[in-house]
């Protein structure tokens, strides 16, 4: 049984990469930049989403009762609200509890306020089923007796939702364009490599080398370019991310960041996946005709 030496392919591809040093460098640089931009963008979107999720309090309607409503009246109102179509659930907070929470949060300001002086009213927080039904729900709530005020942040919520999908769309287009650019560059690098070895390839074909034997070193070249770009890109992003966190976290406290440790596995996997896939696709495209014979 004949066996091929796997080192042969790796060695040949390294030789090829060295021979076209400039193009190899260009390929790695472009793919690396693509990965860094992709990765940076992904991290940004990821963190924006992460921060927006904390604002999910926006996806609710809060109903405030009359100041002097009794507990029975409040419970009855809550029951009526819960029976409405678009209501998923309700949670009631009596004014005593709200005051207690405030006292705990801010003892300086509310410490002295007694239950008798309580200036607050009870609140019923509603989580609803669909955004579309909110205007109708709002109308229905206004019809109920005992409702003093309704806080409805639907506009903010939809704006943020639109923003999210807008960012995603831009991100996806960015990805597609960068991916195409990377593939194009790699195709040219491998083509150049094939060109500088055309004599050798011609001889190999006369001798009876199979298509895959001829093409494997070039596929490996693509894989090596992808791997190096992935590793380089990963460490670059990692450094940049921790730098940005250190700078931003200290200045803007309301923003919080996902720690790098939670992301590095995913990032590395994605980079290797995209890098190697780009390398393989790029070299396969430039080798199409050699793979046939």
């Amino acid at each position: 049984m004949r066996r091929y030496n796997p080192f042969y392919f790796v060695l040949e591809s390294l030789k090829g990469l060295k021979r076209n040093g400039v193009m190899t460098f260009a390929s790695v640089a472009v793919l690396l930049s693509c990965l860094v931009v992709m990765g940076g963008f992904a991290l940004m979107v990821y963190n924006i989403n992460f921060n927006l999720e904390k604002l999910d309090a926006l996806n609710e309607i809060v109903v405030f009762t009359e100041y002097d409503a009794s507990i029975e009246e409040i419970d009855e109102l809550a029951g009526q609200i819960a029976a409405l179509d678009n209501v998923e659930s309700t949670s009631t907070k009596y004014k005593e509890q709200i005051l207690a929470d405030l006292k705990e949060e801010n003892p300086d300001l509310y410490g002295d306020v007694t239950d008798e002086e309580n200036p607050l009213s009870a609140s019923i927080t509603i989580t609803y089923k669909s955004n579309e039904g909110v205007p109708e729900l709002d109308f229905q709530l206004r019809q109920l007796s005992g409702v003093r005020k309704i806080r409805n942040d639907l506009n903010v919520a939809t704006t943020i939702g639109n923003l999210k999908s807008g960012i995603m769309l831009v991100f996806i287009w960015f990805l597609v364009i960068l991916f195409v650019v990377s593939i194009f560059i790699i195709i040219n690098t491998i083509k150049l490599s094939v060109f500088s070895r055309r004599n050798e390839i011609g001889i190999m074909r006369y001798i009876g080398a199979t298509g895959w034997f001829i093409t494997l070193p070039f596929i490996f070249e693509g894989i090596i370019i992808g791997t190096v770009a992935a590793l380089g890109g990963y460490f670059l992003i990692r450094g940049a991310y921790s730098y940005v966190i250190a700078k931003v976290v200290s200045s803007i406290q309301i923003l919080s960041f996902i720690p790098m440790a939670d992301l590095s596995g995913l990032l590395l996997l994605a980079f290797f996946g995209i890098g190697i896939a780009t390398g393989v696709v790029g070299s396969s495209i430039s080798l199409g005709k050699y793979l046939k014979k």
């Binding site: 004949r2 091929y4 074909r205 006369y206 009876g208 199979t210 298509g211 046939k292």
Partner: protein
């Protein structure tokens, strides 16, 4: 001599017929047990295919419109030595390209051994080519590899184990009288020597046929003789040798079968040199 040729080929046809019958009747095992035992003395060992080369009404026109071959009929037997001659542009190289499957025939049939070359699938071409060793006018050695590496490369390419390569390459270089040039690079040796390296490379995978397209075209006459002597020697070792040349003095000197291609067909086919 011609009669001997046809007699031999007739014998082989019978061989192939019996093989064919055995296969079609489903008696595969029987074929190996009995089919060959009584025929093997005539050269029909089961593992060694009979390397007849046959061209039947082969035509070739290039996409440019040039009609290079207009219906070639040819039969070359296993173990023959054949010169192919003809004017420049007669279609000799085209003939070799068809044989090597580098170009596809426009019509007609080419049979080499057990392969129908005109019907071969792309996937099988590399394996078919391993049965043919090729030598070109311009040597086509790899300039960045030594003599030894150039020959070893041919064996690596087809997946020969390193141990076998180390054993076989020196033996082949010996055969072509290059034992002392292992570590030279192609640009450090003469044209004749380079062509001998090419010949060694062609022999590396133990092909059944050696095809040489104007092997002496780029080297001086004295060296040419040495190359030709080597080709004759290789032929004596049992390989079919096909040499394309337009050097009449060589053809006359060796007195072998000469096929002359003219105007895209076989113009003459006889044994013993051009002017006899």
């Amino acid at each position: 001599m011609r009669m001997l040729h046809s007699l031999r080929s007739f014998e082989r046809r019978i061989c192939r017929l019996s093989e064919f019958l055995a296969v079609t009747s489903g008696a595969r095992r029987l074929r190996f047990r009995t089919g060959y035992t009584f025929l093997s003395e005539k050269g029909c060992a089961p593992q060694i295919p009979i390397f007849m080369i046959e061209f039947r009404n082969v035509k070739k026109s290039y996409p440019t419109g040039t009609v290079a071959l207009k219906g070639v009929n040819l039969h070359i037997d296993d173990g023959e030595f054949v010169f192919i001659v003809g004017q420049s542009g007669a279609g000799k190289t085209t003939l070799m390209k068809l044989l090597l499957c580098e170009e596809k025939a426009t019509s007609g049939t080419i049979i080499v051994g057990d392969t129908n070359v005109t019907r071969i699938t792309n996937r099988k071409i590399p394996y078919y080519r391993r049965k043919l060793g090729v030598v070109f006018q311009d040597f086509r050695l790899l300039p960045n590899k030594t003599v030894y590496e150039n020959v070893a490369f041919a064996m690596q390419v087809v997946g020969t184990p390193n141990k076998m390569i180390r054993r076989r390459v020196p033996a082949i270089l010996n055969t072509v009288n290059l034992a002392d040039k292992h570590n030279s690079f192609p640009n450090e040796i003469s044209g004749g020597e380079q062509q001998r390296v090419a010949l060694a490379r062609a022999l590396a995978n133990n092909p059944s046929v050696i095809i040489a397209d104007e092997p002496t075209g780029n080297i001086d006459p004295q060296m040419s003789l040495e190359i030709m002597n080597l080709l004759v020697k290789i032929n004596k070792l049992g390989k079919t040798v096909i040499v394309v040349t337009h050097e009449q003095s060589l053809v006359d000197y060796y007195k072998q079968r000469v096929i002359m291609i003219g105007d895209g067909v076989v113009a003459e086919d006889h044994v013993g040199g051009m002017f006899e």
